[in-house]
């Protein structure tokens, strides 16, 4: 049986790991390659690097981080952030990334999903969706630019379109839960996971090990992602897995 995956996420700016609360107030938390190797040893199933560099130099640095990370770790990793062309994907995949995460660029140009999937295979293309509950609609809306800009797009529709266009996986971040540490958005995760036939990674809101158990059991997530609780050692990947095992969730 397929194990549920625990995925630490590292926000990287100009080659250094940072993590913001609600995407602002960044704090420096170290060297990405070193952190990646630590998470590999601690039993993380996968890693996500989110490149939040604003400059061309910062993005070039990311390719180097990817290359060095690929030489150090024995688990797969995804790179996202600022990728807007098939050429960008190629550069990162050649440097050793296993998957590419696309978010705003995919909304601007949905063909990027199709082209990336056709060129590199569906398994390489992770469509990241930042969603926030829209009370008027009674369902979730897609946001971009770290949750600042609304798009008028329904998250469930967008997830289905991403799948149709060849995405291999959805990385679903709840803008309502992100930074709260009150738990993942179980309702959102369940709604998306049950409407697509590709794996869904739940993200945003992890505060303790029980939250992971909830999003797997009730949210039907295939994987769960967290950043600050792992970086600041509030809980380790191993502790999360122990809790999950105790509740009968299949983990590695």
């Amino acid at each position: 049986m397929l194990a549920k995956r625990i995925i630490p996420c590292l926000d990287v700016k100009d080659g250094r790991v940072v993590k913001g609360v609600n995407f602002v107030n960044l704090r420096d938390a170290g060297d990405p390659v070193e952190l990646a190797a630590i998470y590999d040893r601690e039993g993380a199933d996968e890693l996500v690097f989110l490149d939040i560099s604003a400059s061309v130099e910062g993005r070039a640095t990311m390719v180097d981080v990817v290359r060095r990370t690929a030489g150090e770790i024995t688990i797969p990793f995804t790179v996202g952030g600022g990728i807007s062309a098939v050429e960008d994907m190629k550069r990162l995949l050649r440097a050793g990334a296993d998957k590419i995460g696309i978010n705003t660029a995919a909304i601007r140009n949905p063909d990027l999903i199709t082209d990336g999937s056709r060129t590199f295979g569906a398994q390489c293309i992770v469509v990241a969706i930042d969603a926030k509950f829209n009370a008027e609609w009674g369902e979730w809306e897609v946001f971009t630019h770290g949750g600042r800009n609304s798009t008028g797009i329904r998250a469930l529709e967008w997830a289905k379109e991403a799948e149709r266009r060849g995405a291999g996986e959805i990385l679903l971040t709840s803008m309502d839960a992100d930074g709260t540490k009150d738990g993942f958005d179980v309702a959102l995760t369940k709604a998306v996971s049950s409407s697509v036939g590709i794996p869904v990674i739940a993200s945003g809101g992890a505060g303790n090990a029980q939250h992971f158990a909830d999003v797997f059991a009730e949210g039907q997530a295939d994987a769960a992602l967290a950043a600050s609780i792992f970086h600041y050692k509030e809980v380790t990947v191993q502790e999360v897995k122990q809790t999950l095992r105790g509740k009968g969730v299949n983990v590695r």
Partner: protein, 208 residues
């Protein structure tokens, strides 16, 4: 030296780094002479079956791979590289494979998520020099098509994804792994080490 066959498909860097971490020299190459001279050869691969075969043909490497496989030196196909070992695949139309192992590659079909993506547990089906001293556990899979070997004797290990799924195949010195050993933690590295040990003659029956 282990040749990592470069035919324009997929992530060669990770495979080559993993081999180097095991203390072996790895050379990413598309030169037939260099490949044929290697102690072991790895055929990696990510992408579509038809494209991969077309690339192998265009780079003139189909004969090289077949000659290598017949040489008795250890040969390993990884992921799509494993699927290419079979007779044919139904990925986007029917495509002929290398036909080193009889069997077909078919799409996952059913009420479950595709790709089969993530960590799944191996069950060893028979003894193999790859498995000596190795405990089965989780390895990392990512694929939407899976291989159905014709001969049970070629099926060395399976995993379970709503059905038994081919995970490791082998016949003589030709091996294939559907998962990514270079991305599968300690167990992946242990299995890869068995392969590099065969190549360097550290495992009996494989003096090269």
């Amino acid at each position: 030296m282990i040749a990592i066959i470069d035919y324009g498909m997929g992530n060669l860097h990770s495979v080559s780094k993993a081999v180097e971490r095991l203390g072996c020299e790895a050379r990413v190459t598309s030169d037939p002479r260099e490949i044929l001279a290697a102690d072991g050869a790895i055929l990696p691969g990510v992408g579509a079956f038809g494209d991969a075969m077309a690339n192998l043909r265009e780079t003139g490497l189909v004969d090289t791979v077949k000659e290598y496989a017949a040489s008795g030196k250890p040969f390993l196909g990884i992921c799509l590289g494993m699927q290419l070992l079979f007779t044919e695949s139904e990925e986007h139309g029917v495509h002929q494979g290398l036909d080193l192992l009889p069997g077909r590659v078919v799409r996952f079909q059913g009420d479950y998520k595709v790709p089969h993506m993530g960590w799944n547990e191996l069950t060893f089906k028979q003894e193999s020099p790859l498995f000596e001293g190795v405990e089965p556990g989780h390895v990392y899979f990512v694929h939407s098509y899976h291989a159905l070997p014709e001969r049970e004797s070629d099926l060395l290990a399976v995993t379970d994804y709503c059905q038994p799924v081919t995970a490791i195949v082998g016949r003589g010195s030709v091996y294939g792994m559907q998962f990514h050993p270079e991305k599968s933690g300690d167990l992946g590295m242990a299995l890869l080490r068995k392969f590099t040990d065969m190549a360097s003659g550290r495992i009996e029956g494989f003096e090269v």
